[in-house]
């Protein structure tokens, strides 16, 4: 069923009786060409692009809970491509280009809203660093503009410009950045994949891998054994737990990241704003709530909830840059599990086990990567070679001395 304005009009006149569930609840087949473990944004995007772009439709997506119940439903919905390093930036720019055509592509309203992202600058060295970053962005074909304080004042006059410690000297502005309705991304990809023949198996937990002669031939699930020519794991947050069932240790720690939303307000933010002297970022949802967050809690956790010191730290960051935020009441807060990798960058790669593929390590930046992650993972699964823009995201990069360390922190996951 194609969605359109005409369709809404017609359904409105006929009692809205024509709407149907947008994906099936099929029984698992005995064997698939590809099984994707994990029905989150990345897993569903992988299934969608496998079917649409690479013609592989005998695919199952296996999800322990309901689709979109993990990080795609728990993030702060920001999309951007403002990275520095060559291993990262072309990939994220591909992702942003896919976001821009996503809704027309899968015929679903994902509320892609390119209102821009503004990274504030508070010192001369920071301006140099952001100028360099802007050049790197433009080399990849992305947009980047350096703003002065006067231009920022026209967009967000309420920021604390003349703060004694952290005066606002400028900003790195990416007009094409913005926000996307996160749940709709999962639903839109699921609908698009399902309509092309992909089986989405919800409430089906992967409990082990079928290994035959050192090759992965399928998975054990709570609904029985399902065989496959290729098994693609895509469970960021729980990557270590799942890959441990294949005997693998990963360069990943799981951490909790908290996010917050205020009561609904009239439109006040021009887009996404990030504080350059602390870790704080804020955007405004279409319902009006200020959506914001900051640092991860910093210790290994699978709890999906954080602790109060980080709540205080995030709110201090907000008050420092945007004092008026203190007038808004906090409505909700929650936590999600992050695969924090050893260099802050992700993995899309084959493992050393034939037939077993891995996608994970997205740290707290996985949402913006969803379309390109799905596209590049599908490329790897269909052609057995990495996509041009994801060729640096290899599991062996630490052994080769080729980490992709945006922040230059070294192998200390809680600092990325």
């Amino acid at each position: 069923m194609r969605y359109s304005a005409f369709r809404i009009f017609k359904e409105g006149l006929t009692g809205n009786k024509g709407w149907k569930p947008v994906w099936r609840e099929p029984e698992p087949k005995a064997e698939y060409d590809v099984i994707i473990v994990g029905g989150g944004g990345h897993g569903l995007a992988t299934a969608y692009y496998l079917a649409r772009e690479f013609g592989v439709t005998n695919v199952a997506v296996v999800e322990k809970g309901w689709i979109g119940s993990g990080n795609v439903g728990r993030n702060t919905t920001i999309v951007r491509s403002n990275y520095l390093l060559e291993g990262n930036q072309p990939f994220y720019e591909k992702s942003l280009k896919l976001w821009e055509v996503l809704e027309q592509d899968f015929n679903y309203n994902a509320m892609v809203s390119q209102r821009g992202i503004m990274n504030l600058i508070h010192s001369d060295p920071q301006r140099d660093a952001f100028a360099r970053r802007a050049n790197s962005m433009r080399l990849s074909g992305a947009d980047a503009v350096l703003l002065g304080p006067d231009e920022i004042r026209t967009k967000a006059p309420y920021l604390d410009f003349d703060n004694a410690r952290f005066p606002i000297q400028g900003a790195l502005w990416q007009p094409r950045g913005g926000t996307v309705r996160h749940d709709a991304v999962a639903w839109g990809y699921a609908r698009g994949a399902d309509s092309r023949g992909v089986d989405i198996l919800q409430n089906t937990e992967c409990t082990g891998f079928v290994m035959e002669g050192g090759t992965c031939r399928g998975i054990e699930t709570s609904r029985g054994t399902i065989r496959a020519k290729k098994v693609a794991v895509c469970v960021a947050g729980s990557s270590s737990r799942v890959m441990a069932m294949a005997g693998m240790r990963l360069p990943i720690e799981s951490h909790v990241l908290q996010a917050f939303v205020s009561e609904g307000l009239k439109p006040v933010l021009p887009g996404v704003i990030t504080f350059g002297a602390g870790h704080f970022y804020v955007s405004q949802s279409d319902k009006g709530g200020l959506v914001f967050g900051g640092d991860i809690d910093g210790y290994n956790s699978y709890a999906q909830r954080g602790n109060l010191p980080v709540v205080e730290d995030v709110c201090e960051g907000g008050m420092a840059i945007m004092p008026m935020i203190g007038r808004a009441r906090l409505l909700r807060m929650w936590g999600g599990l992050m695969d924090m990798s050893m260099d802050g960058s992700p993995f899309i790669d084959k493992t050393h086990i034939d037939g077993l593929y891995f996608n994970g390590g997205w740290c707290y930046g996985g949402f913006k990567a969803t379309p390109a992650s799905g596209w590049c993972y599908a490329h790897l699964l269909a052609r057995d070679e990495p996509h041009e823009t994801a060729r640096h995201f290899r599991l062996d990069r630490f052994r080769r001395g080729a980490p992709i360390d945006e922040k230059g922190q070294g192998a200390q996951p809680n600092l990325h």
Binding site: S254, G298, Y299, N300, P309, F398
Partner: protein, 95 residues
């Protein structure tokens, strides 16, 4: 979280800096056979369990001691705290 420091009693976790898995005590012999592989695994790979986890915390805003904290990563419940020095000695890694 409250960490029960063996010498100082209950302290707020915000006084500490988190380092990570206690396996970071077991630094391999850089001159031994297979040192490249051993250092790769030591530096980059982690067990990352969901459940009981032994980890290193540094009391930066306190007495600067290193602690080994046994904590459940699913509940954040801490079941044991000891000085890293004591554990290192038991493993024969410290005098």
């Amino acid at each position: 979280m409250i960490i029960h420091h063996p010498l100082l009693g209950p302290r707020d976790a915000a006084e500490f800096v988190y380092k990570g898995d206690v396996s970071l005590i077991d630094r391999p012999d850089g001159m031994g056979d297979g040192a490249d592989d051993a250092f790769h695994d030591y530096l980059y790979l982690r067990e990352n369990p969901a459940g009981e986890h032994q980890e290193l915390w540094y009391h930066e805003q306190g007495d600067r001691s290193w602690l080994v904290v046994t904590r459940n990563t699913l509940t954040h419940e801490i079941s044991n705290v000891e000085l890293a020095r004591d554990l290192a000695r038991r493993r024969g890694r410290s005098a």
